[in-house]
Symmetry: C2
Subunit: 408 residues, 2 copies
Amino acid sequence: MDHVEVPQLLGLLAAVLGIAKLLGAAAKWIGQPAVLGELLAGVLLGTSIAGLVNPDSQILHVLAELGVVILLFEIGLETDLRKLLQVGGTSAVVAIVGVALPFALGFAVCRGLGHSNLVAIVAGATLTATSVGITGRVLADLNRLQETESRIILGAAVIDDIIGLVILAVVAGLTQGQEVTVAGVATKTAVAFGFLIGTLVVGRLIVPPLVKVLSRIDLPGTPTILAIMLAFTLAWVASVAGSAMIIGAFAAGLLLRNTPHAPEIERGVAQLGHFFVPLFFVMVGAAVDVRVLNPLDPANHRVLLVGGLLILAAVIGKFGAGYAPFWFKGNKKVIGVGMIPRGEVGLIFAQMGLATGVFDAGMFAAATVMVLVTTFIAPPLLRMLFPPVHRSGPSPEPEGIEELVTEG
Amino acid sequence: MDHVEVPQLLGLLAAVLGIAKLLGAAAKWIGQPAVLGELLAGVLLGTSIAGLVNPDSQILHVLAELGVVILLFEIGLETDLRKLLQVGGTSAVVAIVGVALPFALGFAVCRGLGHSNLVAIVAGATLTATSVGITGRVLADLNRLQETESRIILGAAVIDDIIGLVILAVVAGLTQGQEVTVAGVATKTAVAFGFLIGTLVVGRLIVPPLVKVLSRIDLPGTPTILAIMLAFTLAWVASVAGSAMIIGAFAAGLLLRNTPHAPEIERGVAQLGHFFVPLFFVMVGAAVDVRVLNPLDPANHRVLLVGGLLILAAVIGKFGAGYAPFWFKGNKKVIGVGMIPRGEVGLIFAQMGLATGVFDAGMFAAATVMVLVTTFIAPPLLRMLFPPVHRSGPSPEPEGIEELVTEG
């Protein structure tokens, strides 16, 4: 990172937050999830239009990452682990089909267009992972996190995030000409899933008594800071263990949900979230170059053709995955649509493709078009299929408080 | 800045927050202000001991600066501008004497020890400015922000911060061999004070109606984010106008105190403060090298002698300033002691002296010893002279709410 002038950064943050909140409110006013406005703010402020937010800025990147970690922690805090596990099988099927089908379709599209095997594999991989941040945030904006469909989507998005990590490692190896062994892939997969399971099992035993002791520390804001510490620690451990930061943060939220301090933590962390989370969505928006959408520039025609076909593969693949658990009686459309947004995960794949030289500029642009469209169509589609529920007052107390309180 | 690994940063932040809060709670438990524990955490984690917190880390520096901006905003939010102006004359006298006396004593000490005029000027300048962050935080920890003495201290600290900026600019010019003109100094002084006065006059007219309109934006957390935006914007404008960021943030707090949303803003910003503010004090502590305090190392003897004399000059100078407003009937000792901590402001001067080659390593170390001691003795001394008041429940509503509410 270049030297950061703090005053300029403060001015920039004020402007970014202002525009993100304004467009978020505007989105809400026309009945859309607020996150749509924040993404749009990012596009407007980003490289391709205003040039005010540099998506390569290290400090903005760090603040945005803090944002997505806090967001996933908040979503975990609102998610009942038991109910999540009840739909675990359904989620797993949605996740696996939702990885395999888009990959196959994307691969076929690229081969059909005459690209090499390697390009087709990286393009297919770009289509695999849902952005759990965007989907989770949309469901939260719609007040729908407690529905069975939402739980299936979240579970599937978490699982396909882990699968996506494994694919990313494999594809990164392929692009560098490394040999890929079954044993290597199996180990990586086992570690990534093992971390989540191990954390939840061990955490269920350790976290509640630990919180009980530590929250006696007599300083204002202690439970919130303890919660943030747990979220950051598990995010770090997850990353070290070969899983993803946001999986660790999500696990921290799941673990704290059943402690007596959960409502206080939720209120405290929400204030941090109001500050950090929009920065994440603005940075996702800022990383997208919308100039490739200009149909008047002949150079964009091929990009738009390839991008259009990738969008079809991306949408059909995930929408189809929603129908994979044929036994599920709920709204399969909602699940399919909820899996569509690729967001920052898709961008990470595309950037890796570009950096390693597998993607040329055109292929990279086509992948960005796919990310842009899937990210922007999912919120309004979800909103249409899954209209917002208006709740008044604070969110309901998590279950299990009474028993824990009386235990103590 | 070097490339930042976000997961490692999250782990580091969790550790830093944990140790800062733990030592803060320990400090409180033995009857001391929590900030003392946070400073100590910084010393333990910093360069000279654990080496875990690098005081030159850009990202930690940025987060710490966000912390001090939020802290001064919070202090402004708890400060009644009218009552602050009522003691304005007293504050000004304390500030001016509290700049002139330490400067003169420091200059005399260094000349007496055989140093050049330039070294003596920079050393004198290092003694001039009180750390308003540390004093304000100690007064807040003691629940004493509403006392007349506290208001005089805060007013004087803000004024001497502005004077300190002018001195910093002058001294920076001197060290680079520039000529210093009376007109130049007068302009710089007028701009630095003019910013604060202008902001408060214009802000009193603009901010309340602006807040009224904008807080209708229907998004969770809107008043808090608007407040943060105002604080960041004024911090940036202050810096551009040649004043200090923290003065802008303080002004933002003063301006929002009399809006109907003040209590909500206070609660919301407090959550951000719990996260960011300790990072500032940890970074102040981390920048201090305590190895120069080791009396067994003969190389430190001269440093300890010069440092000891500078401490005397620093303490006598500020303590004497507390007695300058001879007409004031309150506790003059409290005012004098409240002005003692030099904190990060002293370090900035010392670092400038080192960077420009005016200070050798020994003189720099002596200045750090002075900063370390004045910073660490002030909180327990203040606590002794000004025992904490225990309030229960939320802080009282700011005045003027009713009239504003009924107006709307």
